[in-house]
């Protein structure tokens, strides 16, 4: 007898419907699984056999053929266990009920328990788009599935419960819908800008970066709190909207990094080590293409500590996603497009010995050594980092210990206000923030008065700025003006923007 059960496969972040067909025939006892299964899927044969047996059902002893259709997509992952088991039970007449319109996802333990699987959220979203509304998922995935409005998700604990559910022997209530807002309220960041003492210039630069979505480079001696500052960056960025959170959750779900919570409510902060390869940053994989660090940092911050230590090829690969906000990874197993709209925050020492600009320790590097060290960051990459800011080498707590440090929430308020100005400005332009402005938008929204032009020209001449610094300074000046609620860019905005460029021009 023949049976069909619906499940889903993942292609990048997109779910593709897969029909699990089982045919049981008379003949030599056999158990075949066809339809391009990978190793994990092939192994499901044995899990399914034990799980069925241990759930007090009968595993048919005849010629069983399981087909995963369409046969041209590589099937990967362990979530086919449940649909295969249901399909076999149906084909062997042990579950003579209709399951059309219900999507089954889940991994089976040998005793029949359902285990959590990765990628539930993107599959559910795609399935909804394909018109499916009833889902059976493992109980541990309930949280992740609870955010999708209009879906009837049953989170069950074992194969036995699934059988009881299909046969109607037992009534189960679908997972209660949870609102994103309630989860968001419960989650707080571990760090706060008020934990960082002093560093007023760097904090101001972070505020500007967050307000305009600018990439930022923190330059400072070792142990001055560059990492701490960077960690505070997500805390002053505006909260993610539900749509943004869903995008992020999808990516984290596919990579199997989702926490109990089931949704990523805080902006991600990713810190790949400097030994990271191009593939681990950008994404890849043999059969199923998996997102890399830049996609996992989508809508959040990608922090590259000790920037010059990263391999050149890995850094150069960031250029295109920094521009487009997404990356298309093409591998033998197919191509996948992942969103990668992240803010790049990098840190580095000012010179090989680390003491350049330090008030206390002498720098032992020659200008040529410093130039060589800084030249490790290519011009085109530097081009995409709007703010280059120096982090103080000295603790100035004693100087300013009387003044209280600002809390992240206060800064975030100002950032949100500046973002609101930008949203209004770029309405319908396809640009989200000042950093995303192209030449056309710069011409349109950043008109400079004669004074500003003069200031900019002088700055270029006396500070030896490179030509590419121009649009960068203007964009940052626009953000500073937005923080100031000034509709025009004023000379002081240009001058402040010009001061965040410790890398342009020469050192003399």
């Amino acid at each position: 007898m023949l049976s069909k059960v619906i499940s889903f496969a993942l292609r990048g972040l997109e779910g593709v419907p897969v029909e699990v067909e089982t045919d049981i025939n008379k003949g030599m006892v056999a158990y075949e699984l066809v339809g391009l299964p990978d190793a994990a899927v092939k192994e499901s044969k044995e899990r399914v056999r034990s799980a069925v047996k241990n759930s007090v059902m009968r595993f048919p002893i005849s010629k069983i053929t399981v087909n995963l259709a369409p046969a041209d997509i590589k099937k990967e992952g362990s979530h086919y266990d449940l649909p295969i088991a249901v399909s076999i039970l149906k084909a062997s007449d042990q579950l003579p009920y209709d399951t059309d319109g219900t999507v089954f996802l889940g991994e089976l333990a040998l005793d029949g328990t359902l285990r959590a699987v990765t990628g539930i959220l993107p599959m559910l979203i795609s399935a909804k788009a394909h018109g499916f509304t009833r889902f059976v998922v493992p109980f541990p995935n309930a949280n992740e599935a609870s955010f999708i409005a209009g879906a009837e998700v049953y989170a069950l604990k074992s194969l036995k419960e699934v059988v009881a559910f299909i046969s109607g022997e037992e009534a189960f209530s679908p997972v209660a819908h949870r609102s994103y807002e309630s989860v968001k309220r419960q989650r707080t960041y571990d760090c706060d800008l008020s934990f960082v003492k002093g560093q007023r210039v760097a904090k101001r630069a972070l505020e500007i970066a967050a307000a305009g979505g600018h990439n930022i480079l923190l330059v400072g001696p070792p142990g001055t709190g560059k990492t701490m500052l960077a960690r505070c960056l997500p805390t002053i960025m505006p909260d993610m909207t539900f749509e943004e959170a869903l995008e992020v959750t999808k990516i984290h779900s596919v990579s199997g990094e989702l926490s109990e919570e089931g949704i990523v409510a805080l902006r991600p902060f990713r810190t790949p080590h400097h030994t990271a390869t191009t593939i681990s940053l950008c994404g890849g994989g043999n059969n199923r293409v998996r997102p890399g660090e830049i996609s996992k940092a989508h809508n959040g911050v990608l922090f590259l500590d000790e920037l010059p230590e990263y391999s050149r090829s890995a850094l150069e690969a960031l250029r295109q996603p920094l521009e487009d906000g997404q990356i298309t990874v093409t591998r033998a197993g197919g191509a996948a497009t992942f969103p990668a709209d992240f803010m790049l925050c990098a840190s580095m020492n000012p010179c090989p010995c680390g003491n350049y600009g330090s008030a206390e320790l002498p720098c032992t590097c020659t200008p040529a050594q410093i130039k060589r060290y800084r030249a490790k960051i290519s011009g085109p990459l530097l081009d995409r980092i709007d703010l280059q800011v120096e982090v103080d080498s000295v603790k100035y707590d004693d100087l300013i210990s009387d003044s209280a440090e600002e809390k992240s929430a206060v800064v975030k308020g100002r950032v949100e206000a500046a973002r609101a100005v930008q949203r209004e400005r770029f309405n319908g332009e396809g640009v989200r923030s000042n950093a995303g402005m192209g030449e056309r938008q710069i011409k349109k929204y950043c008109r400079l008065s004669r004074d500003c032009e003069d200031v900019l020209r002088n700055a270029f001449e006396s500070l030896h700025l490179s030509a590419r610094a121009r649009s960068r300074i203007i964009k940052v000046a626009r953000t500073i003006a937005d923080l100031d609620f000034s509709s025009d860019i004023l000379p002081r905005h240009i001058l402040e923007a010009a001061s965040y460029r410790s890398f342009d021009g020469d050192m003399i």
């Binding site: 002093g198 007023r200 210039v201 101001r204 400072g220 001696p221 000012p350 350049y356 600009g357 330090s358 008030a359 002498p362 720098c363 032992t364 590097c365 020659t366 200008p367 040529a368 130039k371 060589r372 120096e390 982090v391 103080d392 080498s393 000295v394 100035y396 100087l399 300013i400 200031v455 002088n458 700055a459 006396s462 500070l463 000379p491 002081r492 905005h493 001058l495 402040e496 010009a498 001061s499 410790s502 050192m507 003399i508």
Partner: protein
């Protein structure tokens, strides 16, 4: 290029790597003439060995060898000023070991100008680099500024001099080599708008012992030497020592205690160098008139920041903000503007210094 017979002889004599400086000067009685006399044959055979002596002797008079030497020089754009040339600087003849040949690229007429040396260490503070650049630009109005080819202070001095006038770069190695490699642009600019000279044959690579040898030339060429920075062990200090020896005036920037790049400067001042804070301290000693530049227009806020910074000398932005009673980011624009106007320098690490 037309050379006289003795100039040609001198260049050919200098072209033998086997001949040491001592051998060359002995066999010509301290450059009394350019062709080694017969009576020094025994001396040369003793120092060189008979085979080498005979080879050199043969080549020295061989027409093909001589033309080869000159065509190679011409090919790499080098002109030679020899001890026997009209335009050989008199000041070099007065030192114990004058060079036999100066290999030059660029405008050799600069050798006849008044010359002033500006030297310093590679590890020089950013504000001093800026000051060095400014002061050598001013000096170049009256002098050809002589300096070395290292990065750091030498480069700053050369760049400043090229803004204001003429520069003479003295390389330690032969002119076929560029050292340090990152200064290739500076070499080209000096050859184009100034003069690049070396005492060594063009194919001589940069070796450590050549640098003090070169430093004596800088001291000998210039009327005075300004040392903008010098560490504990520093080539700039060696140049100054030579200048003392040759009876030239030495000027030094003063440094506060504990600045590693200023130890040598303070030591030189102790030894009798003049303390120089600005161009006027130098011009006074030479009786020259450097008119002061006109003041730049400053806004009130800029003036307040500048005077606060001048009071501190060198300060962190937080300190300045504290003095002015505002938030650091509120004075970033003013600091940036003052930097643009060339009145202050950024030291790195958000510290600033008045110039």
């Amino acid at each position: 290029m037309n050379y006289t017979q003795s100039e040609r002889d001198a260049v050919v004599l200098d072209s033998f790597p086997e001949l040491t400086y001592k051998a060359k000067s002995e066999c010509t009685e301290n450059f009394g003439f350019a062709v080694p006399r017969k009576k020094y044959a025994d001396f040369l055979i003793k120092t060189l060995g008979e085979g080498v002596y005979n080879k050199i002797r043969e080549l020295f008079f061989s027409e093909s060898y001589r033309s080869g030497v000159f065509s190679r020089l011409e090919k790499s754009g080098i002109t030679c000023v020899t001890y026997f040339s009209q335009n050989y600087p008199e000041s070099l003849k007065r030192i114990p070991a004058p060079p036999l040949v100066l290999y030059c690229r660029g405008d050799t007429s600069l050798l006849a100008m008044r010359k002033f040396a500006v030297v310093g260490s590679r590890r020089t503070l950013p504000n001093i680099l800026k000051e060095c650049k400014n002061i050598s630009a001013r000096l170049a109005e009256k002098f050809a500024v002589v300096t070395g080819t290292a990065d750091g202070a030498d480069t700053a001095a050369a760049e400043g001099a090229m803004q204001g006038g003429k520069v003479i770069l003295v390389a330690a190695q032969g002119l076929d080599h560029v050292y340090p490699a990152c200064n290739a642009k500076l070499y080209a600019a000096a050859a184009k708008n100034g003069l690049l000279i070396s005492e060594q044959r063009p194919d001589t690579a940069a070796l450590a012992y050549l640098f003090p040898v070169r430093n004596r030339l800088i001291a000998a060429l210039a009327e005075g030497v300004l040392v903008v920075s010098a560490g504990e062990k520093s080539g700039a200090a060696i140049t100054a020592e030579y200048a003392f020896e040759y009876g030239k005036d030495v000027f030094c920037f003063p440094y506060s205690l504990g600045v590693p790049s200023g130890i040598g400067c303070n030591r030189l001042i102790k030894k009798g160098a003049y303390l120089a804070e600005n161009i006027l301290d130098i011009s006074g000693a030479f009786g020259l008139d450097f008119t002061t530049r006109r003041a730049q227009a400053l806004s009130d806020a800029e003036r307040r920041v500048l005077s606060a910074l001048k009071g501190e000398g060198e300060a962190h932005i937080s300190r300045l903000a504290q003095l002015l009673g505002c938030q650091p980011f509120e004075i970033i624009a003013e600091l940036s503007s003052l930097e643009v106007k060339g009145l202050i320098a950024r030291l790195g690490g958000n510290r600033y210094s008045a110039l």
